[in-house]
């Protein structure tokens, strides 16, 4: 008895304290709006969430997630479930951090028919596929503003290739790979005048001629099976709507690709009203296999065009631009069976095909239901010629004949849908800020979970393939407001990780992302990690200005151009004392990183350079241009903390006044450099 009382005596003060703290917290919670918010957030997070997202230090994540960087023009890579950012891959934007788009090797990557474009708006990453499944080889991404499609190599996590898309404006409906990467398709968001009858060049057009002169285009980019190299095979000239998103069929629907359209009203001004008049817009169904067949048969008409194709050579690491002068055009009116229009509730966004390939789910952000169309019914409707009209000869199928059913009262502003491995679909609701889970079997809503706030796309690992990995869902939100510590008017963009393994969705984690995460792709780490390159082979480096031994380091003058053939290895630059350079010279530092070890990049920068730095991976060569603007002594140094003697990895360049006759001289240490 006594012991029990003693125990109680010991515990009682602690219990009292706990009660007091809890009461205090509750009172605070009631006192302010912010407190109330955080309390509601806390209830939305499952109790064991922390352990589900905890990846112990030194351990690897289960999945890679590639997120579009939106207006940053880049792709960011995250580990999931931890939400740790692993890398930012520059694609369409210059990146001073590693010299992408600044150094001589990669400048050409950003060449376009409009000249050098240092930025873009990157919306949709799509992983390459083999047999309808992600294979971890490449990532395709689109540039929305200046139409381009890029291919990223997932061995090196570098942008390998950028292809400009002619006859396109606002390359939003892009890029969509077919099930075996045969083609990557890209549709134009803005319709524009396409002078297919004439010489391809712009002829004066007035805005009120929109309906007659403006056209959309769907580009068929052929992908090399082995190396991934892209080539614009042909384009389909389509009615002058806005093409929004697309997705390829699977299984029985493998030969088809579906595109959502809006502004079927063909308004050219105040589109928020003008493009929202028709009760229904269209889902465009295109038989891509048939398109390829027609193009092969010579139905595609060659027309003049002007666009750039930029490729990074794997061995030299030098990007080269090629200017293309023509494109082949296929017209649906010449190609029976190529294209059909299926009515869908107005202004649809996402079109997503379920893992079986039978259902096409269309999310119309202004619609009150989510229509689910049936592929087999579509084929039957075509067979029965159950058409309700046509647009320029393209048949419009009867809505009711194609429709499998509608998901009733799903929420407000359905935007995009992906699938798990158990027959469930998950739709993002932009307006009501929630994710809604429903089943394909009976189209009934099963669960809903709030997200913070205004979710755009969502991604489920493999959720757009024939066998989803499931387990997690990531919501990509447009607005964060009070979710993080404030950072002035411009706030973090956000992703939210949700556990979808059980009946009920569970919020696990918020993590901020770069730019605006429009869409993402997630893939098992095991499909990428084993192939990740640790360094480049110095032996295989075929860069024409590579310096493979310190004994070959040198400085050469050619008129007012000076070429410095420099090497970097722990912990010195060779040469590190350079003279004979004059004010106004064009100096090119070709720096080769001689290291052949894992995770030993060297950086390179020169004082006052109107340029970025170099970040040179082991075995690679990169070139930095510098035009010294005044005489003096200019320090240069390694910018990446490479070793214990990194701070000593530096040197000097002496710049003489314009017109000086100082001879070129260079050295490292007291002796002449030895290899």
């Amino acid at each position: 008895m006594e012991t029990v009382i003693n125990k109680f005596r010991k515990v009682a003060p602690k219990a009292a304290l706990l009660v007091a703290v809890a009461a205090g917290a509750a009172l605070q919670g009631c006192s302010g709006i912010e407190g109330a918010d955080s309390a509601s957030t806390a209830t939305a997070v499952a109790g064991d969430a922390a352990s589900q997202v905890y990846v112990a230090p030194g351990k690897h994540d289960e999945l890679y997630t590639f997120m579009s960087g939106g207006f940053s023009g880049q792709v960011s890579v995250y580990g999931v479930p931890s939400g740790r950012q692993l890398k930012v891959i520059p694609v369409f934007s210059q990146n001073p951090e590693n010299g992408y788009g600044y150094n001589e090797e990669t400048k050409a990557m950003l060449n376009t028919s409009f000249g050098f474009v240092p930025w873009d708006d990157l919306h949709h990453p799509k992983l390459s596929r083999t047999d309808g499944m992600t294979d971890g080889r490449w990532l395709f991404v689109n540039a929305n503003n200046t139409p381009r499609v890029a291919r990223l190599d997932l061995k090196t996590f570098e942008t390998a290739e950028i292809l400009e898309i002619p006859n396109s404006a606002g390359n939003h409906c892009s890029p969509y790979p077919t099930n075996d990467n045969e083609y990557v398709l890209a549709g134009t968001r803005f319709s524009v005048p396409i002078n297919v009858e004439g010489d391809g060049k712009y002829e004066d057009v007035n805005f009120d001629e929109y309906k007659d002169k403006f056209r959309g285009s769907i580009s068929f980019i052929k992908v090399d099976k082995e190396h991934g190299d892209m080539e614009l095979d042909f384009q389909i000239l389509v009615p002058g709507f806005d093409y929004d998103l697309a997705n390829g069929g699977k299984g029985p629907s493998s030969d088809w690709v579906f595109f959502t359209t809006y502004n079927t009203e063909q308004a050219n001004t105040l589109k928020e009203i003008g493009a929202s008049q028709n009760d229904k817009d269209f889902l465009a169904a295109i038989n891509w296999k048939l398109a390829v067949k027609y193009a092969k048969e010579g139905k595609a008409k060659e027309m003049p065009a002007y666009y750039y194709h930029n490729k990074l050579d794997e061995k030299t690491h030098i990007a080269k631009s090629e200017v293309k002068k023509s494109v082949r055009i296929l017209r649906p009116e010449d190609c029976p069976g190529l294209m059909y229009l299926i009515p869908v509730p107005k202004s649809p966004h996402g079109i997503d095909v379920d893992p079986t390939g039978e259902y096409m789910v269309v999310s119309g952000k202004l619609a009150s239901v989510i229509p689910v169309h049936s592929f087999s019914k579509m084929l039957k409707t075509i067979e029965n010629k159950d058409f309700i009209g046509n647009v320029g000869g393209i048949p419009i199928l009867r809505y009711e004949s194609v429709l499998q059913g509608e998901v009733k009262e799903p929420g407000l502003g359905p935007l995009h849908t992906e699938f798990d491995d158990k027959g469930n679909a998950y739709s993002s609701m932009f307006v009501s800020s929630e994710i809604v889970k429903w089943t394909l079997k009976d189209l009934q809503v099963k669960d809903r979970i709030p997200v913070y706030y205004s979710v755009g796309h969502l991604v489920i690992p493999g959720g757009d393939t024939k066998k989803p990995y499931g387990k997690y869902l990531i919501a990509m939100n447009k607005i964060t407001k009070d979710r993080y510590l404030p950072t002035g008017p411009e706030l973090a963009q956000s992703a939210q990780l949700i556990d979808i393994s059980g009946d009920k969705m569970k919020l696990l984690l918020d993590f901020p992302t770069i730019g605006e995460p429009h869409y993402a792709q997630a893939i098992e780490a095991s499909k990428i990690a084993p192939n990740s390159v640790k360094m480049y082979s110095l032996e295989e480096n075929t860069h024409p200005q590579a310096t493979k031994k310190e004994s070959e380091a040198r400085v050469e003058r050619n008129g007012n151009e000076v070429h410095v053939y420099m090497t970097a290895i722990r912990s010195h630059l060779t040469p590190d004392n350079i003279e004979g350079i004059n004010e106004g010279d064009e100096v090119y530092f070709h720096v080769t990183n001689l290291e052949q070890d894992w995770d030993v990049p060297h950086g390179f920068a020169v004082m006052g350079n109107n340029n970025a730095e170099l970040l040179i991976m082991p075995g690679a060569t990169q070139t930095l241009k510098w035009v010294p603007q005044r005489p003096g002594i200019f320090p240069m140094y390694c910018t990446d903390f490479c070793s214990a003697l990194h701070q000593e990895m530096q040197g000097y360049i002496k710049v003489s006044p314009k017109g000086s006759k100082t001879p070129i001289a260079f050295s490292t240490g007291a002796k002449k450099p030895k290899g």
Partner: protein, 198 residues
């Protein structure tokens, strides 16, 4: 010699050939920033590592403490050792082939002497490299030397070094062992025969 002995002698001679297939000695080093480790492999005719660039990476690390650059070309041992190995293989085979019983023991003893000389030479290398440090080295720790362990493990600054004989050395060991077996087998046989004769 009996057929079995001749066969064993032949095997002894051939097993030395392992030296051409595997390193004689391996030095493993590990440090916090080298979780994957670095390995130096010493062969009869070359110095290599677990990757193509191991030697370069060893030299980069060693230059901080002023250790002389390890350049395989500067070791004349790597040039003449293969001849010695071939010599032992050929003579071993000849002993087996021509039944030169009396030469078995001298062959084994000579091999042991050569092996010991090799070990001694290796130990001297380690000592030379570990102590012959450039006075201008960036990292100088008074009294510190960097002799890698001859056999076993040792901590050298941030590195944990382990040095062990490789499969190639096991070839020599095997050859000595088999040679001795042949020698004793034959001696026993001979003494039996002597007993019978008496």
């Amino acid at each position: 010699m009996k057929t079995v002995s001749r066969l064993l002698m032949f095997l002894a001679a051939i097993s030395i050939g392992l030296l051409f297939l595997f390193p004689m000695w391996k030095i493993f080093v590990q440090a916090p920033q080298y979780p994957e480790g670095l390995q130096m492999h010493i062969w009869v005719n070359k110095i290599s590592g677990n990757t193509e660039y191991s030697l370069q990476n060893f030299n980069i690390l060693n230059h901080y403490i002023g250790m002389e650059k390890i350049e395989p070309d500067s070791f004349k041992e790597l040039v003449y050792m293969p001849y010695i190995v071939v010599f032992f293989m050929v003579t071993g085979v000849l002993v087996a082939l021509f039944n030169l019983k009396r030469l078995v023991l001298p062959w084994v003893v000579l091999l042991m002497v050569a092996g010991s000389a090799g070990l001694l030479d290796f130990y001297m290398w380690l000592h030379k490299f570990g102590t012959n440090l450039d006075p201008h080295a960036p990292i100088k720790i008074p009294g510190m030397t960097y002799i890698p362990p001859f056999i076993g493990s040792k901590n050298l600054l941030n590195f944990h070094a382990v040095s062990l004989p490789g499969t190639g050395s096991a070839g020599i060991g095997l050859a000595i062992l088999l040679g001795l077996v042949v020698y004793f087998l034959e001696r026993r046989r001979q003494s039996k025969r002597l007993n019978l004769n008496s």
